[in-house]
Symmetry: C2
């Protein structure tokens, strides 16, 4: 089997590739070929050296999509995107990659299929940014997509294309809307959502972190491990029961910032909590106020997607996956 | 003021142009210039000869969008589309016109605005085909768009673009989702929805018409006169109260085929009703079963859009506008 991961150098992409390295049949069959593509050179784990090839590509450049599907991968996992902030700052670049690049990929698959029958599984990383405030307290499965960013618009358009190309039998697509990933590994960054991870990740290793919003802010979370699980499941599941509504809001945990902090207290004690410095940031407060807080994700759950039920679990996963299994 | 109508040779486009001919200030100010564009040569009513110019164009062809906006129209009413059946039969053509042509128009406006400030009103004809079954009995204002045709997909994508370009201040857009227009003037055609009009229009002039579905089929209607009114209102309204959710399901009348027939009986008597020949068509029955039957359109109503409340009214409008005001 040939698997193509586009966006393999990103955080979720890297973790997905690491998962495949430790569990080589996780995508159902032996992988004879694994193509890792990204705008940055992807890392190939040692165990995958015999089957992996890397491609450093610009998805928006002419010919890239055709080159990616020329060898007819059986499973295509498309994680590549210009992120929210950049897509908002650079209108043309966001549309070129997130809309045109994705559509070029879908069209290249169609061209291959017109040459000779070819219907790969396509898993597309969408986002809860397809939704825009005001929201109901719990966002229902059939709530409309009215994005308030160009990034969200581009993801919502790609979802529509994915559903239409799947309905037409051009490929077998599943769009998955990721919750905010927490705890994001790495170092604090400037993303408006960064603090949700920072206030756990940094205190767990004895470092200070800034909390720019109130403890009463509610948001929607899943661990990086769950995110990898979503992609694996979407790549291997029976798509028959999905029907034409191909884009799914992934399950997650709806929790308050205060609940994150209580979980931190239980896992790492008062001294960890004391490292959270409260420093209100009205800009971030305003951005976060427009974000969704809770979803009804029963449909994805009934289709076999799973996420964490508590923040204790999310913290424990971080300790296992990033900190060698225990706090020092 | 300069007004551009794209799709001016279609049924609603023609009626809109006729309305402007009889009420020249209906779009708010005197029209100094009226550009009528379509793939077919549009008809110019005598009263508009001094201000009108026609353009016969292919919206999907390179340079068309730029040529349409080169003279910076103040109001752009975009009605042009490859219709549902053709967009389903010809994948490339549907996407080329309905998606790429519309996006090229939006981009041409953006280019003009980057040269020199320019923020026209853009009114876009969308469709209830953005929705896909299964539905609730009444489709709420925040129901999601999961189209089951490529045409509906293209309209839903154009809606997303319209909202994003409006949010960005590139233009001031309003997307209006038209109900099924009834009574459509002309002769019976092969559109699956044709019978809704045929069973009234034909008997009103003493001709037979075929009813291929049961009298218990419910659907969502507005008259051609209402459709013109929607476009006029969208072109002239204060868009401040709309906010970022720029696409509106227009008001309409939810009615059973049986209610259409009862209205026909009241207006034109038993002899008209006797001209309806029942001839079940399983193909049309199946298509129609996937169509929406009723909408909550209070948002559009609160923004000033109006439609008929009874089928008697819809028939009376047809008699006034198409049959000279009385039955012969």
């Amino acid at each position: 089997m040939h698997v193509l991961v586009i966006g393999a150098a990103g955080m979720v992409g890297r973790k997905l590739v690491e998962k495949i390295a430790t569990a080589p049949t996780i995508l159902g069959r032996d992988i004879e070929r694994l193509t890792l593509a990204d705008a940055f050179e992807p890392v190939v784990p040692a165990a995958l050296q015999p089957v992996a090839q890397t491609m450093t590509v610009d998805l928006a450049a002419p010919g890239t999509a055709e080159a990616l599907v020329a060898d007819r991968p059986d499973i295509i996992i498309h994680l590549a995107a210009i992120v929210s902030g950049e897509a908002e700052a650079d209108f043309d670049k966001g549309y070129a990659v997130n809309l045109d690049g994705t559509r070029a990929l879908f069209e290249a698959i169609r061209d291959e299929g017109q040459r000779e029958p070819y219907v790969p599984r396509v898993v597309f990383a969408s986002s809860i940014a397809v939704f825009g405030a005001p929201f109901h307290e719990v966002i229902s499965e059939d709530f409309f997509t009215t994005p308030l960013t160009s990034y969200g618009t581009q993801k919502a358009i790609a979802e529509l294309l994915l559903a239409d190309y799947s309905r037409r039998g051009i490929f077998d697509g599943v769009g998955i809307r990721l919750p905010t990933i927490c705890i994001r590994p790495g170092t604090p960054n400037k993303a408006a959502s960064g603090f949700f991870s920072n206030i756990l990740r940094e205190p767990l290793v004895g470092k200070e972190a800034v909390l720019p919003v109130s403890e009463n802010v509610r948001h929607w979370f899943a661990s990086p491990r769950s995110a990898v699980g979503f992609f694996v499941h979407a790549a291997t599941m029976d798509t028959g029961p999905i029907g034409p509504r191909r884009n799914l809001t992934m399950p997650g945990l709806s929790a308050l910032v205060g609940e994150e902090i209580e979980a931190l207290r239980r896992v790492a004690g008062e001294k960890a909590v004391a490292l959270i410095r409260r420093e209100a940031d009205p800009v971030i407060e305003r951005i976060v106020a427009g974000w969704p807080t809770n979803f009804d994700a029963r449909r994805a759950e009934s289709l076999g997607f799973k996420a964490e039920k508590t923040f204790d679990e999310i913290i424990r996963i971080h300790i296992e996956d990033e900190l060698g299994g225990s706090l020092s």
